[in-house]
């Protein structure tokens, strides 16, 4: 099923890149990528290295950071409507695309405590498109209803909101989100509709025949392993080592 040599991370990166390029979605002229988001960052770089006219703002480059108003500028940009696409994840994600970055159990995470909400409660409402990404696909993560809402997937009338989730990419599949519920859109190699149903805590729609998540092309793989990895390794050295075997030789790039 899996073509020899395609790393699972490479498939996820490519799947996200295709969602970014979805012509049916609002244009993504400016993509921002937050902390600890190696796979979304790589997907964004792939789109750019494929030659698309897109501006990337990567928050956690140790130097050459695009912002000059400090960490506030990302949020100001989103407030101004100048960020078209952002990525979010969650310790829990439910079928209404609600995100929980607080913790399980009662507030503030009496079960398992997660890191905290970061900017999600703001960015999710201010950005026309959000691609949700969470590699772990289990009933622990994909739940019927999140224990605590860090950022809501759907807002009441009269609450200013520019957009919500476009899709959710996991280690097993791609779901798309229509503003109310998820639909299973493609299966990664080795997965079936039954295996997804068994691993997913929330309900979702399916189409008559769910396709497989497409393989990266040779051209995409070449870009990932060369120029994309070049751009990534200063910020994500461990990821580049693990996925592409890129060792850090320049001490200053660590």
């Amino acid at each position: 099923m899996t073509p020899a040599g395609i790393a699972p991370a490479e498939r996820l990166i490519t799947a996200i890149a295709r969602l970014i390029l979805d012509p049916a979605a609002p244009p993504a002229r400016h993509i921002a990528v937050g902390a600890a988001s190696a796979i979304p960052a790589a997907a964004s770089w792939l789109v750019k290295k494929l030659g698309h006219d897109v501006r990337l703002s990567l928050l956690h480059r140790p130097t050459g950071n695009p912002f000059t108003e400090g960490t506030r500028e990302l949020f100001d940009l989103a407030g101004q409507g100048r960020i078209d696409l952002f990525f979010l994840g969650g310790g829990q994600i439910d079928g209404q695309a609600n995100l929980n970055l607080i913790g399980t159990g009662n507030w503030p995470g009496t079960g398992a405590r997660f890191p905290g909400s970061f900017g999600s409660a703001f960015m999710y409402l201010m950005t026309p498109r959000t691609i949700l990404f969470r590699e772990e696909h289990t009933k622990r993560v994909l739940v019927p209803r999140v224990d605590n809402i860090s950022a809501p997937g759907i807002s009441a009338p009269g609450v200013f909101r520019r957009g919500t989730a476009q899709a959710l990419v996991t280690g097993k599949c791609v779901f798309t989100f229509d503003g109310a519920a998820f639909t299973l859109a493609s299966l990664h190699p080795g997965e079936t509709e039954a295996s997804i149903r068994a691993a997913t805590g929330f309900d979702y729609a399916t189409s008559a025949q769910t396709p497989e998540t497409a393989d990266p092309t040779e051209a995409e793989l070449a870009l990932l392993r060369g120029p994309v990895c070049d751009e990534m390794h200063a910020t994500y050295p461990e990821f580049c080592r693990r996925v592409w075997g890129r060792e850090t030789t320049d001490r200053n790039a660590a």
């Binding site: 600890a36 140790p62 009269g158």
Partner: protein
Amino acid sequence: MPQIDLDQLAAGVPDGAMLALPPDNSLSPAAFAHALVRRGVRGLRLLGVPVSGYVTDLLIGAGCVQSVHTSAVTLGEAGTAPRFVAALAAGRITVTDSTCPAIHTGLQAAEKGVPFMPLRGVIGSDLVAHRPDWKVMDNPFADHPDAILLIPALSPDIAAFHAVCADPHGNVYVGRRRELATLAHAAKRTLVTVERIVDFNLLEDERMAPGTINGLYVENVAVAARGAWPIGLLDEYPLDAAHFAEYAKLARTEDGFRTYLERHVLPPAAQAAA
């Protein structure tokens, strides 16, 4: 401005102070935090600007902290902040959860001298129900129902960070990390460590001034060479990933954390006694 040393700077932080700290990617004052641990400060109320990292986890592990107000606590690629999670589970600290732009907004309100400032988004998050200090009102400029969040001004007792350099007038260079300028404007007192003191006035240099915080906001500066270590400092030196991994591993347990303190934070005497 009289220069003082790192321990004198740490001595200026009283027990119970509300202490604002930048995250690991933005001039985090690690050497200063080590000095606070050695001084044995207690009951700090930490504010993450806007998130918290190694320094917060370390101060919590060392028993210096009573509460954390932050948008997240994380060691980045090194994973969960173990002492934060353990202390919260054990009930030794409380956490006030926020979201990054809300912390920026509260500091901007204090910078501007207004009692509150509005912020879009957030409504619909459970954060709102757990922040009785926040208010939701109807936007008085809209001709239709339009709920908007109001964040009260946030003025920390003390802001602390580690910058590249300062001059003899107390002007401090933070480069593009301008959230620290807002923080210094908002805070009642600002304590800074720097790599070095330069011998010219940073504000008289048109190339340096844009990245400089005016000394009028700065109470004291102490020199601490490599004072962000194990965190990196702009283009001066990178994060020490091996040390970070060591911290993340040792701090998983109380005993491991004590070992870390003895190895890297406590004075030689305490290390010898250990």
